[in-house]
Symmetry: C2
């Protein structure tokens, strides 16, 4: 969005840690001419992150790194998971979610992640209507990372057994929509911010 | 939450990058006896992060690293900001938010961040009723970081001029609640996931 306020100018990025999560130091020139450094964590390679930073400044629409699936069954239940999350050393409540693979479209990624993590799938009888994506992906934590997650609402049905990776510990469970207020009031398990805010929206609407 | 599913056991953490954002490699023992490493980004020191990981496994209630403030004016407007976010090289739509300082309680942090970023403050005429915090903080991105953000709903009023840090570029703006659906449909600026989901909840309720 064009802004009347003077805007910092991206100068360069420097990778300071490699791995699955990469760490970068970004250098900017502030409007007063001074130089300013800021750290960032990203899953992207230096080239891909640089292209993204230049694209964002040019107003290119951000792409989704991952999807988060708010699945609803024909019986008005929400499909949630408890997943062991290594950065927390704890189980955590969330909606099924996962990273998009190269070249994958949203519907393919949603269906794949649902099947892997929960054994559910997009409802076959509804076709396009099974999926309602928010108008744009959202940024998870803009002071820390460039990660974007596209939240999609989906009509789902049981398909088969879940097929998690060996290091993925996931327990799917169904939460009746009418039971969401009680669940939120009583829940003591760590919860992801997207699950929490979507459940709060369901709770306040009923 | 106790779980029937076998759970990985935390063995150790190793810091691989220091700075404002630290990077850790966490070692776990999986239920089959094998060793498993996972990377994580955190603002916490090694000692503080270790205490947190042990506390989470023991079922201790997670504390909030930051607050996110859904401020509403007496005229049924939401108080939002456009902020230049260095990890994105872009302006981004969000609710006012910031890291909690040592020993600070929620209300003090909310009032301070509101004043610094927007020049608004908690409504003085309402006292306790000005603040409605969700029952627990939410985790921003549980595959990547331990960051927790406590979302609070607040009744706010204009108090003074904003006082951002020299490297903070922030433009507060008011969005009438009735105008949220149009805003979401038309917005092309990157948006934080918390702002997006809270705004979607307002949009779907009207």
């Amino acid at each position: 969005m064009p802004s009347a306020t003077p805007t910092p100018t991206f100068v360069d990025l420097r990778q300071v840690s490699d791995g699955w999560i990469k760490k970068y130091v970004l250098t900017y020139r502030l409007p007063d001419g001074s130089s300013y450094e800021y750290e960032s964590a990203s899953r992207k390679s230096p080239d891909a992150y640089r292209r993204e930073l230049e694209g964002n400044a040019a107003g290119r629409k951000p792409s989704a790194d991952a999807v988060c699936i708010v699945g609803q069954t024909p019986d008005d239940e929400l499909l949630l998971i408890r997943e062991f999350r290594y950065p927390l050393n704890s189980w955590c409540i969330a909606f099924p979610a996962g990273l998009m693979e190269d070249g994958e479209d949203l519907a393919t990624c949603v269906d794949r992640e649902l099947r892997e993590e929960t054994g559910y799938a997009l409802r076959a009888d509804l076709e396009a209507a099974a999926l309602d994506a928010l108008p744009q992906p959202g940024f998870s934590s803009t002071g820390l990372t460039d990660e974007t997650v596209h939240v999609v609402f989906a009509q789902v049905e049981k398909a088969a057994d879940a097929q998690p990776e060996p290091s993925e510990f996931i327990e799917p469970f169904l939460l009746p929509i009418n039971d969401v207020p009680r669940f939120l009031a009583e829940n003591a398990t760590p919860i992801g911010t997207r699950a929490q805010l979507v459940l709060e929206a369901f709770a306040r609407r009923h």
